[in-house]
Subunit: 263 residues, 2 copies
Amino acid sequence: MNIYQTYEPSQIRELIRKKEITGPTAGLAEGYAQANLMIVKKELAFDFLLFCQRNPAACPLLDVLEPGDPVPRKSAPKADIRTDFPKYRIYRKGILQEEVSDISAYWEDDMVAFLIGCSFTFEHALMLNDIPVRHIENGHNVPMYQTNIACKRAGVFHGPMVVSMRPIPAHQITRSVQVTSRFPSVHGGPIHIGDPAMIGIANVDQPDFGETSVIKEGEVPVFWACGVTPQAVVMHTKPEIAITHAPGHMFITDQRDQQLGVL
Amino acid sequence: MNIYQTYEPSQIRELIRKKEITGPTAGLAEGYAQANLMIVKKELAFDFLLFCQRNPAACPLLDVLEPGDPVPRKSAPKADIRTDFPKYRIYRKGILQEEVSDISAYWEDDMVAFLIGCSFTFEHALMLNDIPVRHIENGHNVPMYQTNIACKRAGVFHGPMVVSMRPIPAHQITRSVQVTSRFPSVHGGPIHIGDPAMIGIANVDQPDFGETSVIKEGEVPVFWACGVTPQAVVMHTKPEIAITHAPGHMFITDQRDQQLGVL
């Protein structure tokens, strides 16, 4: 429980814009969909849009903004994606150059912003089904791993899929597949269930992003495609400039989680 | 029942290529997904891809081919979209100029082909649920209508949604919503249920494309977004050149219908 749990999305965004909220956004404005960010120049926008279309589990699109337009007219028409994430990452030629809390100074008229669905939506649905979500129970960021699963290439964009992991009690795995499959626009059903080595994860206790989740007796690690994938792709593709959110520091949209369910 | 019902997709495509099959493809290679076609020049490809992303009910993408590549490497890697539809339409500046059975002579290195999901997939699922599909029962093309529902604009592309109509017995409407919602990549659940006038259809017995379906006592007209929408959009947007399939004359992919179900 946190004091911001029951705030409206617009209230949270205002606090973020004023830099009164600067940390991870899990649990804020509960019930509203949060989003990952990827910004590229217009000349790469077709390739990246095609990359998302070909890799819908990792990069499910909630909103694609008009070139040069920082306002997400579909998902939060009064917001501004240059100021409404708590933390951003600036990548130049695939290298993380800096983390900032406002990208107004970096924004250019030929940039295109992509908002990508976030697993926080289905975590709420898991908990409503009495399926435990360890990193929320323990109050830390979700563990994320680079895998040996290659994303489908599109134009210049290619790279490995990043996944998030949740330990699920064995008897609840089927239900966790059902619950998350309802939400394809926030990564959908799991990518992998069980042995981490099969998808190239050497040590499940050493995530590449986020923090370790303890796997208890009788639990199985279950892996979902993750919206941090574009950052791994940027590191491989090395565009002149790309701007993303910092993992866990998301954008809160005006769309309710339940509106994203396919049935 | 038709003699081609049990053929493999590759066999049907070969007969189409040899011009031994030249008519509508409904019921051919049953159980395999069929696709609508839209081809635009590379300079418009980002706008059209964004249009599809913003209008997923009307334009659910099964495959987007590389610029200049006529081979659908994801959905039918041994096919050629220039020869494997029975009939194509060539639009210049939004005007239908001609219908041809092969577009090899029109193909250019900077063209991008989009394969869009087709309702034939969910019709099979409806029938497996004992929900009647009138135009299949009566052996004619599905009735399609231009509506007053505006698609969401993307770049230069805008225009009205085209829908297909199936008369459904009132007590089976809920089930028809459930069954078709499983298949968002072939238009998903209905766009409208009931009074045709509410979506701008003046006379349900006079479709804009295809042929009339009789609505029996106790049945309600149910409308689904239709992959002919890009043709209405081309008429509004008037690009120099666009190539589509002729309504009902689809491409047969190697993907099974059931592989497109989200759950």
